[in-house]
């Protein structure tokens, strides 16, 4: 099954900007004032990845999210096929500049990554982690609340999106099974 939680539904078509403007246009930080963004700029972590480099692996403990400042990121899910016992890797989605991923780790306690992320090309990521969020909440509680509200919105929207997809799938599965029963009856 496709892992819809990794699809970006907050994609923003922005052009090349500095770190501050990249942060300002991100869905999570768009309510922050310029002073708060300036503080955030000194807290976030900019990391560079080579093509094929693993950003994180499925099953690892995750502590935060990444915003793509440059490049492309592939999301994969690894699962063991019950019949053969082999490890199957499924490409879930490709994320591009301004997308963000891994945000669930910001609210989980020692939560493990539900997918793996790999850099597709030379990629620059802005890492925003739980210690960073706690630092902001501690130093500027109002900024922390703004981020947390947006984060709640993101997680809520992801949940709604996933629920809708599951409902659609169940409906189609039900329709298929009723068609089969009708066919058998006729």
């Amino acid at each position: 099954m496709t892992n819809y939680i990794w699809q970006n539904i907050f994609r923003n078509s922005s052009k090349e900007r500095g770190l501050q403007s990249k942060l300002k246009t991100n869905f999570l930080f768009q309510d922050l004032s310029f002073a708060e963004i300036a503080m955030l700029e000194k807290i976030v972590n900019v990391r560079n990845y080579r093509p094929g480099e693993i950003i994180f692996r499925q099953g690892e403990v995750g502590v935060g999210m990444y915003i793509i400042a440059k490049g492309l990121v592939n999301i994969y899910v690894e699962e063991i096929v019950p019949a053969s016992g082999e490890l199957k890797t499924t490409h879930v989605t490709q994320l591009r500049k301004s997308d963000f991923f891994g945000d669930l780790a910001l609210v989980e306690n020692n939560g493990r990554r539900s997918a793996s992320a790999l850099a597709h090309e030379e990629t620059t990521l802005i890492g925003f982690f739980k210690p960073d969020l706690l630092e902001i909440t501690n130093r500027r509680p109002s900024a922390g609340v703004k981020i947390l509200l947006r984060l709640g919105e993101v997680l809520g929207a992801r949940l709604k999106e996933t629920t809708n997809k599951i409902t659609e799938m169940k409906k189609s599965a039900l329709a298929d099974s009723s068609t089969t029963v009708d066919d058998e009856l006729t």
Partner: protein, 353 residues
């Protein structure tokens, strides 16, 4: 094709880059460790700076919430702390000095009384268990301690002066630029360990902060209670004995006993009908009951979740390696090691979700 395990030229470059970054990161850590442990007075200065840092950090963050710059937010609590220390010194230092001098003058008397007490104790034990040379052993220990203490006194004073100068300097910059320094250090960590390192840094930092603040507040309250009790009893050297007991109280289990020993020796040497000895025992026991029943559950418990056997082992190892300082710092060090091992274990054991 398995995208997560295929070795490409780019991935070989990644591995090379990781190794180089890891080498630089580890070298920096080793160099920092060597500077802190090998340069004269640096270790104690750093230790005191960390205590000051963790004590003031919440106040600095609180001031920053009011829109003050980090510099001003650091300067204000620093000024308040300096003012408090200067006021306390102005109020109590003359008494502390007078009591220390009187104690030093009477030291031979206390030594003699202590030896007499040990002799009595030894005679009683010898009657039951056969000949024991307790007196000679203790005498040698006390003599060597007194000689090294008094011979090394000028060196201690000189060291204390250096530490007193270095501590505010280090702690000020830790508060002002500590985060920037840690970010620079963490930026050297290879990508695959970055989240782990960042999380470890945060977990150890918050646990240390909580532990140091809790232990400091606990010791201040214990010291204040003992001082009040000793003053009420009109017992000599109240400030010195309470201060010593408060510092020793940081060491779990053994600290309170070590802290009570000088007061008990003085009470013994004072002679009398033994009432003073009983009063001192009751006072120290009562303060320890308050500490164990009220202070520890509210302040310290749950901050460092260590098994009592681990704590005792850590104290013994710390004491053997670095004496009293080792006994005091062993608990935060062992809890930091525990956090590190738990995080590393979680990181390297791959559980598929």
């Amino acid at each position: 094709m398995n995208h997560l395990s295929t070795e490409t030229p780019s991935q070989r470059a990644v591995v090379h880059e990781h190794r180089v970054k890891m080498l630089f990161f580890c070298t920096t850590l080793v160099l920092l460790f060597l500077v802190v442990t090998q340069v004269h007075n640096m270790f104690v200065s750093f230790l005191m700076s960390f205590v000051t840092y963790y004590l003031l950090a919440p106040a600095v963050d609180y001031m920053e919430r009011w829109g003050l710059s980090r510099l001003i937010a650091t300067l204000v609590p620093f000024a308040v702390l300096t003012g408090t220390i200067v006021t306390l010194l102005a109020l109590f230092f003359p008494d502390l000095l007078a009591q220390s001098r009187a104690m030093q003058t009477n030291a031979p008397k206390y030594h003699e009384a202590f030896i007499t007490m040990v002799k009595h104790f030894e005679e009683q034990l010898s009657g039951t268990f056969g000949p024991i040379d307790l007196q000679h052993k203790i005498n040698t220990q006390v003599d060597s301690f007194s000689t090294s203490f008094f011979e090394g006194a000028p060196q201690y004073i000189s060291n204390s002066f250096t530490v007193l100068l270095l501590t505010p300097f280090f702690s000020f910059f830790m508060l002002l630029r500590g985060r920037h320094f840690m970010r620079t250090l963490l930026s050297m960590v290879p990508n695959s360990y970055f989240e782990l390192a960042l999380n470890l840094n945060y977990q150890i930092g918050s646990q240390m902060g909580g532990f140091i603040r809790a232990r400091l507040i606990e010791s201040i309250i214990v010291g204040a209670l003992l001082w009040t009790g000793l003053e009420m009893m009109d017992f000599q050297y109240g400030i010195v004995l309470a201060l010593f007991a408060a510092v020793m109280n940081i060491i779990p289990y053994l600290g309170p006993i070590i802290g009570a020993v000088p007061a008990l020796i003085i009470a013994l040497s004072n002679g009398g009908d033994g009432n003073q000895m009983i009063e001192i025992t009751i006072l120290f026991t009562a303060v320890q009951v308050i500490d164990a029943a009220i202070l520890v559950p509210f302040l310290v418990a749950k901050i460092v979740d260590l098994h009592p056997v681990t704590v005792v082992l850590a104290i013994l190892i710390g004491g053997q390696m670095m004496g009293i300082v080792g006994m005091i710092i062993c608990i935060p060090v062992i809890s930091a090691l525990k956090v590190t091992f738990v995080a590393l274990y979680k990181h390297f054991t791959d559980f598929r979700t």
